[in-house]
C-alpha cells in the first residue's frame, strides 16, 4: 500500500514538473544572455543577466503597456463588480421567478465568442471617437466581465450561511438594510476574490485590445507582447522578459488566493 502511495506521489510530482516547466523556461530565458539563448542551453542557467529587462524598460518603454493594462483592467473591475454584486444577491438568495432562465442567460453571455461582436463595436467606437481610448476598451470588457462576475459571485454567495440574515429579517430589518449591514460584510472576501479574478481576465484579454487599441502607445500588455514578433528577427530574450512580466500578476494572484479561486471557478459548474 505505501509503495503504491509513493508511486502516486512520484507520478504527481512528475506531472507537476511537466506543467510548470514552460513557466520556468520563460523565467530563465528572460534572464539568459541572448548569445546563450539558443543552441545547447543548459536546463539550469549558468550565467544570469538583466539585459533583457533593461532593454524592455529602456528601449521599448514596456512600462506604457503595463500602465495601460493596469488602468483598463482596474477600471473594468471597479465598474463590473459592484453591478454584479447587486445582481448576484437576489440570484443567490431571493425567490425570483424564472431564475434558471436568468442564470442561463448570464452563462450564455459569458460564453459569447468575442469575435462575433468585434465588427459593430469597432464601428460604434469609431463613431463615438472612442477607439484608442481607455473607455473604448473598458466598455467592450464589460461584455465578459459582468456575466463572469455575476456567475462567480452567485456561486460564492450561495455558500454563505443564511441564519444571520434570517435572524435580521425576523427582527424587522428591511431587505436593503440586511444587504448593507449583514450580507456585505460577510461577503467581503467573496467580493475580493471576484474582483481579483475579474482583473485577471481583463489583464489577460487579447482580441478586444488588439482590435480597439491601435496605436502602440495604447497597447495593453498581451498585445505588446504578441506584436514583439513580426519584425525581421524575433528578439526572444526580450519577448520572454515581457512574457514574464505579463505572467507575474497571474502567478502572484493564484498562489495567494488558490483556495478561493478554485472554489469560485468550480462552484458554478459542479454544485449539484
Amino acid at each position: 500500500m505505501t509503495g503504491r502511495t509513493a508511486a502516486m506521489r512520484a507520478a504527481q510530482l512528475a506531472l507537476l514538473g511537466v506543467l510548470l516547466f514552460p513557466i520556468y523556461w520563460i523565467a530563465t530565458a528572460a534572464l539568459t544572455p541572448e548569445a546563450q539563448l539558443f543552441g545547447a542551453r543548459p536546463l539550469v542557467p549558468t550565467a544570469l543577466s538583466l539585459e533583457h529587462y533593461r532593454a524592455l524598460v529602456g528601449e521599448r518603454d514596456f512600462l506604457i503597456p503595463i500602465r495601460n493594462s493596469l488602468l483598463v483592467a482596474g477600471a473594468t473591475t471597479l465598474l463590473a463588480v459592484p453591478v454584479a454584486a447587486l445582481c448576484a444577491y437576489p440570484l443567490a438568495r431571493l425567490r425570483v421567478r424564472g431564475k434558471s432562465l436568468l442564470l442561463a442567460f448570464i452563462l450564455a453571455v459569458s460564453m459569447f465568442p468575442q469575435i462575433s461582436i468585434v465588427p459593430p463595436l469597432y464601428l460604434v467606437l469609431r463613431e463615438l471617437r472612442l477607439l484608442d481610448t481607455y473607455p473604448g476598451l473598458v466598455l467592450p470588457y464589460l461584455t465578459f466581465s459582468t456575466p463572469l462576475a455575476v456567475w462567480m459571485l452567485t456561486a460564492f454567495l450561495r455558500q454563505l450561511p443564511r441564519d444571520i440574515e434570517e435572524a435580521a429579517m425576523l427582527d424587522g430589518a428591511s431587505r436593503l438594510r440586511v444587504l448593507r449591514t449583514v450580507v456585505l460584510p460577510l461577503a467581503a472576501p467573496a467580493l475580493g476574490a471576484t474582483a481579483i479574478l475579474t482583473f485577471l481576465y481583463c489583464w489577460n484579454e487579447f482580441l478586444f485590445a488588439l482590435s480597439f487599441m491601435l496605436g502602440p502607445e495604447h497597447h495593453t500588455v498581451p498585445v505588446a507582447v504578441a506584436l514583439f514578433r513580426g519584425r525581421y528577427q524575433v528578439p526572444w530574450g526580450q519577448v520572454m522578459a515581457a512574457a514574464a512580466l505579463a505572467t507575474a500578476p497571474a502567478v502572484l494572484i493564484v498562489l495567494a488566493l488558490q483556495r478561493r479561486i478554485v472554489a469560485g471557478l468550480t462552484a458554478g459548474a459542479t454544485k449539484g
Partner: protein, 304 residues
Amino acid sequence: MNRPAGRLDRTDARVAWLLMAPAFLVMIVVAIVPIGMTAWEALHVHDLRLPWLGRPFSGLDNFVEAAQDARFRGAVVHTLGFAIVSVAFELVLGVAFALLMHSVTRGRGPIRAMVLLPWAVPTVVAALVWRFLFESQGGLVSTTLRDAGVVAASFDWFVHPWAAWVPIVVADIWKTTPFVALLLLAGLQAIDPSLDEAARVDGAGAARRLFTITLPLLAPAVVVAAAFRMLDALRIFDLAYVLTGGGPGTATEPLSLYAFATVMQRLRFGYGAALSISVFLLTFAFALVWVRALGRSLVEKEPA
C-alpha cells in the same frame, strides 16, 4: 415572520428586480445589442476600402459568398477539428490527472494552486512559450525530437501544414487540462466514498472499481467540463494568432482568425460580420445540442 407572507414576497420580487436591473441592462447593451448589429451588418455590403459603395442591403449574399469560399470552409473544418481533438485530449488527461490528485490527500492544497498556474498564464504568453519551445532554431522541443531521431534534421514545425497544429494543440492542452482536472476533482470529491469501500470489501479490484463505480459516477462532471471546454475551444483566436498567424498559408486558420483578418485587415465589414456571426451560430448550435442532451442540468443548480 411578523409580516404577511404575500406582501413580503411581492416586495422581495420588486427589490430583486431592482437589484438585478443594472447588470442585465449592461449585458443587453454591450453584448446582446452588438450581436444583433453584427447580424444586421452581415446582410450588407460594407467595405471601408470602397467607401463610395456606401452600405447597401444585400440580403444573404455574404452568406452565399461564404458557402462558396474555400477559405471559409477550411476555417470551419480547422475550428471543429481543433476543438474536438484538443478537448478529447484534455478530458482524458484531465480524468487521469484528477484521479491522481484525488489519490494523494496530503499536500493537495499547494498542488492545486500550482496546477492552476498554466490556467492563469495569459494565452498570448502560453502561445509564445510554445512557439519558443518548437522554434526550429534551437527550440528545446524541436531540438530534443531532432536529436532523438523522431523528426528529420531539416524539419520545421511551422512550415508543415499539419505539424503546425501540434504546438497549437499542445499549448491548449497545457493551458486548460489543469482546469479540467480541477473541475473533475470537485466531482470526485462529491462521490460517496462508502460505495468504493463497499466494493472493495466485496473483493472488487482497483481497476474494476474504477470502471464500474468511479468513472460512471464521474460522468456527469465530465459532460459538464466537456461542454465548457468545447464552447471555449470553438472560439479559439489568441493561440492561432500568436503561434502561427494561421499559417503556413491558411493551414491553421480558425474561423475567428479569418473573421478578424477580414474585418480588421481587409476592412470588409459586411462579409467579416457574416463570418463573425457564423462563429456565434456555431457555438450557439453546439450549446443548444448540449443543453438538449443534458436536460437543463447545466444551469439548474439550486442551492440545497
